[in-house]
């Protein structure tokens, strides 16, 4: 499904598609980072652009059109890798609970935000796959004991993820803290140090470059308003007063810049109308009725998995704290850190068109929610074959309802 969608999706409909292509082309041709005038996404770390720039040149040499297609297929491959990593994460924490693993896998694979991102000409899925890979290695390390190899691998994966998208930085920080706490318990410091040094060696040059060239290691392509942080967004942003409208019109411009409703509509559908729709209509134009109806169905289908995902994150946090298990607590902590960074970012950089509220920004929070969903469903399901059958049927129905939206 991911590869099929990547093959069929118009690369120009993805987020920042033209700016991404300018960046990739520049990196490949000149081995240079773009200036602020050369690409609108100059603030994004360069790893994905370097890879895609190379693929782009190969496609050009082979006469393959469009030359951006290999970049989309890389995003799809990363999306598939993310699903596999989540399955391995669930197996690592609960090796004998196959229903839990299956629900976690289906939850992430059928998550519309991931499916859409996996078809785009965009670095988000690569960062999510690498970052979650680092999380998996860290969880293994915390459960089985630290080694230099695991420290270097986790640091390497998280460093590369941070060199792909800045959303991986909160995961890197949380993983580093957890591994250091684990090292303090075991009094074995070497592997934790290896993790921090490896990740730092990979990401520090990029952050230093941003500081030197653009004045901040976290520079963004617009100035933050000169106002107190909490004064940058109105109360409606935090409260989401038009929340109920996600069930009758979950597309732009309704609930624009209302954090939770816009995020929910974008997670389960595509709020900005970039997926399998005509281009966003001009003011006064009519949307085809099936476009809205399909997204309403997605919003309704998202109710139960959303509750299960939130429940899973809370449950894993509670369980990790109660059992003093860093390995379990690390999973929801990583999701929470990404969510906190996302909220901080959207508050820091308000935009009139709602552009800084995108569900795909939260892909690195998804693995925790997926594993948590598996945990909650498996822990609360009735025991016995009937219980298993009910769970399998419910999951199958949930996926089947979404198939028309998920498959292009």
């Amino acid at each position: 499904m991911f590869a099929w969608n990547a093959w069929r999706f118009d690369w120009l409909r993805g987020y920042d598609a033209s700016a991404n292509d300018l960046y990739a082309d520049l990196v490949a041709r000149e081995n240079a980072l773009p200036s602020e005038t050369e690409s609108g996404v100059w603030h994004t770390p360069p790893l994905w652009f370097a890879l895609v720039g190379g693929l782009r040149r190969l496609a050009e040499a082979a006469g393959w059109e469009p030359v951006q297609r290999p970049g989309q297929l890389l995003a799809a491959l990363a999306g598939i890798a993310l699903c596999v990593v989540v399955l391995l994460l669930a197996r690592e924490l609960w090796p004998s609970r196959h229903a839990l693993q299956l629900v976690a896998l289906v939850t992430i694979a059928a998550s519309p935000a991931l499916v859409r991102a996996s078809a785009m000409y965009h670095p988000e899925t690569l960062a999510a796959a690498l970052g979650t890979g680092g999380l998996l290695v860290a969880v293994r390390t915390l459960r089985r004991g630290p080694t230099y190899a695991s420290g270097i691998t986790a640091g390497g994966l998280l460093g590369l993820a941070s060199l792909t998208r800045a959303w991986a930085l909160p995961v890197l920080v949380v993983v580093s803290v957890a591994v250091i706490l684990g090292a303090a318990t075991r009094r074995v410091w070497g592997p934790a140090l290896a993790l921090v040094v490896t990740a730092g060696a990979l990401v520090a040059p990029w952050l230093a470059n941003q500081q030197l060239v653009h004045g901040s290691p976290f520079a963004f392509n617009r100035e933050a308003p000169d106002a107190a942080l909490l004064g940058r967004r109105p109360a409606a942003f935090f409260l989401g007063p038009r929340a109920l409208r996600v069930f009758d019109h979950p597309v732009t411009p309704i609930h624009r810049n209302e954090l939770v409703p816009q995020l929910y509509a974008d997670w389960w559908g595509d709020w900005a109308l970039t997926w399998d729709t005509p281009p966003q209509p001009l003011p006064g134009a009519l949307l085809p009725s099936h476009v809205v109806a399909e997204r309403v169905r997605q919003s309704i289908a998202g109710i139960v998995p959303t509750i299960a995902g939130l429940a899973g994150l809370i449950a894993l946090a509670v369980l990790g704290a109660a059992r003093r298990s860093l390995a379990i607590a690390l999973v929801p902590a990583a999701s929470l850190a990404v969510a906190a960074a996302f909220v901080l970012f959207t508050v820091r950089y308000p935009s009139t068109d709602g552009d800084t509220i995108k569900a795909t920004y939260l892909l690195l929070a998804l693995p925790g929610a997926a594993v948590g969903t598996g945990f909650v469903v498996d822990s609360l399901r009735p025991v016995g074959r009937l219980g298993t059958l009910v769970v399998v049927l419910a999951v199958a129905v949930l996926v089947a309802v979404q198939v028309p939206f998920l498959v292009l």
Partner: protein, 135 residues
Amino acid sequence: MTERRAARLGLAGALALVLAQLGVGSAWSLTHDDPTELELTRRCLERERGFAVEETIGDAVASSASGGTVTAIVEGNLVVISVVASADEAERLRLAYGSAEGELGPRLEVRGRYVSRWRRDPSGTQRQATYDCAY
């Protein structure tokens, strides 16, 4: 702490969060009405463009539009604007005007959710004024 108990606590916490958000949404819906497209259009024509705007009277076709109707005088030309909810409804209004008044040519314009019935052939600037007030 059993895993079942942790899962139950998680579920309770998640339900509390979701219900809180739905509570805010419900309270807002009960106490606020977002302006309709017609209200926004009327406000734009009147306040931003400075045209005379009044209720539509004596136009049965426009009065049947599900999104309502308003009449404005745009640069001296009277226009009855109706707001529809679907392409089918727009077509219904177009056919109804055709059967009631015959061929209207450029005096009848269907554009997205707006059906405009002009008294005289509209100029480019008159048309643009109504486009600028479409939502």
